[in-house]
Assembly symmetry: C2
Homo-oligomer: 434 residues x 2
């Protein structure tokens, strides 16, 4: 592919977000970096980088000339700047950071130090603040003379700070408009406004937005010094990313988003790591079968039923785990409440297990197993469904308390345990029946 | 549980969102409705309903007295009102809708008619609009006299409409503040502003927000009449809900969010429906084994390896499907691009298949299979991993083109096909080797 020529064409084009994403989706990393580098206008480069998936933008920035990358990144709002830097591999990131203007460099280093799911990691450091003694006229004069700059950061509120930059009060921009010009800002602002600490978790930030109708919240450090602003849309976006993480992890995509434009080496390493762990885990179930091979030889049809028991128990465990994980996310259960979860789940499990057991038992008989073997297999299926659902429902709670992400680990753990108990139960009962 | 007494205590309490969700998580639907009905203040009831998971709020509203429910719902912003009504079962919803004030009833009926993932389904119908001839002074006078009402709906922009309520222009509130009082609004507004149609999909609304820095977009009908406003935070929240749907569907939670406070009947029906379909699907693989039981009897150790091949191929297919589903969501691939997806995936698949095949083949030998059987099993594992990855990667594209949700159907379909081919390959090759 002659990407240089295509690059020139893209640079001259005026493609919107959808067409841009689709176009870059057809390029590998080297081609994408060439195309981007061929765009002369930094503002257009920034726009394109914000449209592309973050992993792709990070990879592109790592591949273009560090000076250019630093210039592009320096012009972004502080939160986007930190997010993009975080998506770049460590070595190129250090090179780019070193070339940033001093203020942007300090700012980026500070934001990157926060975990991404905290107020500090989500905030913008641009906001409009005045000293506590300013008048409405002072503020309006400043807003008017910086109109262009402020329109980029989308000002909603003005903040009043004391001499130590501690937050003194907040007023919505709308109130300024409706106030007399010679009044003092301090007469308009809400004192002791709702704030969040820089270390506050995304979950608690979202809860604060639930409680208050504000469009944005000021972020302060432990002594009350104002550090930045987090908007409602930023918090929701953080929650969207968490939900996307849950999905990816539950499907075995680890180490961040995978795009097919990424180098094969990275994709291979990440996918194999997870598959390898799961292969090791399913040897547990396989070992049980290998041990009981004499039993199996006596009732070979059971070999056809084992994968059914494994898959069905695994699916039932996965459903139960998903409900627990969602309830944890929604905040309707406490991670310590395993007794209540189990009580709610076991009745349902028993009701689901009965028809499953009958179906699998009858199936074995249809395939020629004697009725005693059918009964053994059916009972094993029913008991194992109950066990699997119990493990699935409670295992995310334990993982959460151990600070392991339940979306990643619940599936493999619950299905492995369900396999081991399922094969052991089935083959033990069949041994008794033959 | 004496919920009446607890209800009184909750009604007197001042619990925040987290504590409220946790408390209601311990109640069943009947208790939750009793507690909510015992709160005298409608505003507090509204607050609590917006904090709880939407399914729970819907169930509670269905259980309390319809007149009270209508009064509570009537006081909500239009978009929240429609969302909550949509979460109530059909019969109680009709009863509540009939008791709403005429304007709210018409409004709700209109919003409920839109699919939830369109601009119409996401918009609020409250906005601040003036006739095309109004002056800045007129607007400021109106804003001042309705300050309280407008502060609830969080006004960002004022809209100028012509005589037929068609959108004429938009100005950010900030610009009004900085303008001379006797100028005409029409001199401030942006003509032909960015708008979205009521029927525009959430995906396209999000793309429009990607292209423009606006905090909110006006929603218009086909003749340009302004219907409502959709905020950036509303659009992001819509995307968050889509990501949560993907997670739930991929784990077999169908028919909407499941909470353990829901009646057992509903939970049983929904979970069993999905498990039942999957049980039927996995009979395909089981039937292959049942047919080949004579082969299996000759090399019984293969029975221990079959679940490993099934699980590993299924996991590999799931990973590939998840990458495709994410790429579709991110808009970096076209649903028609199956050739490119396959080309990108098959090289990776071959690299992953080799070590998997070796591992499974060696394992069989360790468990006592002759080397010919080990080789047959290993080759079957490797080939089937490639097939499974190919099916997993392309099946979401086909499902999307058939308008079936890939997050729901890809998993069961890909793992079923992987089982059938896996068992057939293994047992055919083993038959040749024994």
């Amino acid at each position: 592919m002659n990407s240089g020529e295509i690059g020139v064409r893209f640079a001259d084009s005026d493609l919107g977000p959808d067409a841009t994403r689709a176009y870059f989706g057809t390029l590998n990393q080297v081609e994408a970096a060439e195309v981007l580098a061929s765009i002369a206008d930094d503002a257009r480069v920034r726009e394109v980088l914000l449209w592309l998936p973050r992993e792709q933008s990070g990879a592109i920035l790592a591949s273009i000339e560090p000076g250019r990358a630093a210039g592009v990144i320096a012009g972004l709002p502080s939160d986007e700047r930190a997010d993009l830097l975080a998506a770049i591999d460590e070595d190129p990131r250090a090179a780019i950071q070193a070339l940033l203007p001093a203020a942007a460099r300090r700012d980026a280093a500070r934001l990157l130090a926060y975990p991404p799911d905290t107020a500090g990691g989500l905030m913008e450091t641009e906001f409009v603040a005045y000293p506590a003694g300013a008048s409405v006229r002072d503020a309006i004069r400043d807003l008017r003379s910086n109109q262009k700059k402020y329109s980029v950061i989308g000002v909603q509120y003005v903040y009043l700070l004391d001499e130590e930059n501690r937050l003194f009060g907040v007023a919505p921009l709308r109130d300024l408009m409706l106030a007399a010009e010679d009044s003092l800002l301090s007469s308009l602002v809400t004192r002791t406004p709702a704030t969040v600490r820089d270390t506050t978790s995304l979950h608690d930030v979202a809860a604060t937005f639930d409680e208050h109708p504000f469009l944005a919240l000021p972020v302060v450090d432990e002594s009350g010094v104002m550090l930045g602003v987090i908007s409602r849309a930023d918090a929701t976006e953080g929650e969207q990313e968490e939900a996307e993480d849950d999905y990816r992890l539950s499907q075995g995509i680890v180490g961040g988003e995978e795009l097919r434009s990424m180098p094969v080496g990275i994709r291979l390493r990440r996918r194999s790591a997870w598959l390898g762990v799961n292969l090791l885990l399913c040897l547990g179930g396989a070992a049980i079968v290998a041990i009981h091979r004499d039993t199996l030889a006596k009732a070979i049809v059971v070999a056809a039923v084992l994968p059914v028991i494994s898959a069905t128990s695994g699916n039932a465990a996965m459903q139960a785990a998903a409900v627990t994980i969602r309830e944890l996310t929604l905040g309707v259960i406490d991670p310590a409440a395993w007794r209540r979860v189990l009580a709610h789940e076991l009745m349902l499990a028993a009701l689901m297990a009965l028809p499953l057991g009958c179906a699998v038992g009858l199936l074995s008989n249809l395939w020629g197993a004697p009725w005693t073997v059918g009964a053994a297999v059916g009972i094993a299926m029913a008991l194992n469904a109950i066990i699997a659902i119990g493990i699935g429902a409670t295992c995310p709670l334990l993982l959460r308390r151990l600070s392991v992400d339940p979306a990643l680990a619940s599936g493999p753990i619950a299905t492995t345990l369900a396999d081991v108990t399922g094969f052991a139960l089935t083959l033990t009962l069949v041994a008794m029946a033959t």
